[in-house]
Symmetry: C2
Subunit: 368 residues, 2 copies
């Protein structure tokens, strides 16, 4: 195992190369990072000696300390990392982040907020990054304190803004209002809502509306508000006539469970309003396995417009939100802050309803 033994002996350093060539460490350093500060010939000599000596260039950790920056941005996820990757919206979001960091030649460090199923700021404390992008964090999450304590800038995504910490997101309330209105406009009056988690650590199940304002995930709170506003416009009292099922995780399986519970209620719902496409797609699967037809028996409207929304059958009617752009702008803003430049302000990012096949008018005949 040559690789192992190699690691036992002392590593070759920049200083070794300088000594070998009988020049200063500055000259070697310049050969790597400031070609304009060195003669072509000397640079060639340095690079050749380095190669011969097995020196692969300046140690990144030493460079980081010396320069006072790591040339990497961190993305903090409230949950565990594996969970983050199982969400299609997150992949799109990271795609946007990556396109900005890559253009700026910055690294991208993924930072889990949850370690061994427990909220743990350790990864935040020890992340060698020049700034943090904070993905979908509840306003009362203790991680937020850990992030703000670090002397580097941060940008919030889907969580509004904080004092000194800009935010990127959509107008969740307006978008949710539009999604709900789409169903109500078609005549639905018995609509059930499948909601994302209101706050850290809450269990799945039927929830009461009173808890709306207590939702600490800003986007969830805003969407509930948007839904409620639409229902009010159609003179439906949410608390009395709109059942709400809260899901502890965003997965199709949770959507299935939620749909089963909601459609067990009588009189039977004619429509499901889901706060994410994953939940909506799960609900669709459950509805069909119950022998009901979409949209003839039950309409479904989602939120997100993930790629799967247009591949499921029937195709899902949903609210598009610009996941990629969200990531892109969050990164752009953070990059500006890191560089001490004026950050761009994209404002609230645009959304729109994508009408496909999963929602139609309610059945005229009332179900049993």
């Amino acid at each position: 195992m040559s690789r192992r033994t190699k690691r036992l002996s002392r590593r070759v350093t920049l200083k070794d190369v300088a000594e070998y060539l009988g020049i200063s460490t500055a000259a070697v350093s310049y050969a790597y990072t400031r070609p304009d500060r060195t003669s072509v010939e000397l640079r060639k000599r340095v690079l050749e000696a380095a190669k011969r000596m097995g020196y692969s260039g300046p140690n990144p950790m030493a460079r980081n300390l010396r320069r006072g920056r790591s040339s990497a941005l961190g993305v903090v996820f409230p949950d565990s990392l594996p969970y983050a990757f199982s969400d299609p919206s997150t992949a799109l979001f990271l795609e946007g982040v990556a396109s900005a960091t890559e253009a700026a030649e910055l690294g991208l460090l993924l930072v889990p907020g949850t370690l061994r199923k427990i909220r743990n700021p350790k990864a935040v404390h020890s992340a060698a990054v020049d700034g943090f992008i904070v993905y979908s964090m509840a306003s009362d999450d203790p991680l937020l304190d850990a992030i703000r304590a670090r002397p580097v800038p941060a940008v919030l995504v889907d969580s509004g803004a904080l004092e000194g910490v800009p935010g990127v997101g959509i107008d969740d309330e307006a978008a949710a209002h539009e999604a709900a209105s789409h169903l109500l406009r078609m005549g639905h009056r018995r609509v059930g809502v499948i909601g994302l988690n209101f706050k850290v650590g809450v269990r799945s199940g039927i929830a009461r509306l009173e808890s709306l304002e207590s939702a600490t995930y800003r986007d969830v709170r805003s969407r509930l508000r948007g839904y409620a506003k639409a229902f009010r416009e159609y003179e439906l009292k949410w608390d009395e006539s709109v059942p709400l099922y809260q899901c502890s995780t965003n997965s199709d399986n949770e959507g299935r469970v939620a749909a089963r519970v909601l459609l067990g209620l009588r009189p039977r719902l004619t429509a499901i309003l889901a706060m994410s496409d994953l939940l909506a797609i799960g609900a669709m699967a459950e509805i069909e396995s119950m022998g009901l037809h979409i949209p003839n028996d039950v309409s479904v409207v989602g939120f997100d417009d993930i790629p799967a929304a247009s591949t499921v059958n029937p195709q899902l009617t949903t609210m598009y939100q610009p996941h990629v752009d969200k990531g892109f702008w969050a990164a752009r803003i953070l990059i500006a802050l890191v560089r001490d430049e004026e950050p761009p302000d994209p404002g609230l990012l645009p959304t729109h309803l994508v009408v496909r096949d999963s929602a139609g008018p309610p059945p005229s005949a009332v179900a049993p």
Copy 2:
């Protein structure tokens, strides 16, 4: 902008805290990282003073240099990062990597191999990581040299193994052989192949079989071999009777284009063998838009078993491969190498054919 001005003044360091309390820097350091080395009372004093002074804990960059390790692992992608995120298999792979790094309390740095559309080892050179996971790299990729030059261990994924660099993957040849045999067994004799890119920088289009052994992506080469072997068993001469379309990127759109070209050939193919599900799903969309029925007119078999494979209509028959496990084992092996422990050897990871609805017997009546 208090955050900005804060960054203009000198940051509070561990030394400041020590001086303020009149104790050694060692004591402050221990208070953070070795609670057993400090009295409870002193530790409390340190943490309180730190809070009052706005010290948020040891600087990660300094710690990294001093400790000689960054406590982060890098995942190198041959292409640009945004592209990596658009591939569902990659998300699953990263999910596996993340579950291992998180358990080991290591960071996860994403390292692009392509910068501004050009292969660029810069990100590899400057990544402050303790080791590299190299995702799906061609054997002649110059990045490989850059990675091996770094004095840290590496693990290859889907690219076999190199001297001193272990690899993780599946038996691509056997898996591809099984996928092709499934079609041939059902009676298909006019099969077209939609292949992934053979080597860095090659264009999309009909390819010749002679180029098989020149494929520098090991998994692609092995799969081609597996297909070829199956065809040989049914006395089909690949070079003469099996058209092969090579795609430069792995996307549903490339699959569409490929299917259009392949199904334009006469006599018309009765089956498509795609080297990835993304390509297969694109092909399916194109086939249907041509007014052909799957599987009655044309059968399709994919490779990967991504989540979308079971949500498309008809559901896709495909080769399952354990993307999550691949990531997990790659990380586990690398973690062992970083710690100078004996790495685990998972062997070739298991695959299996998932028979769903996109492939059936060929139409008995011969198409025009």
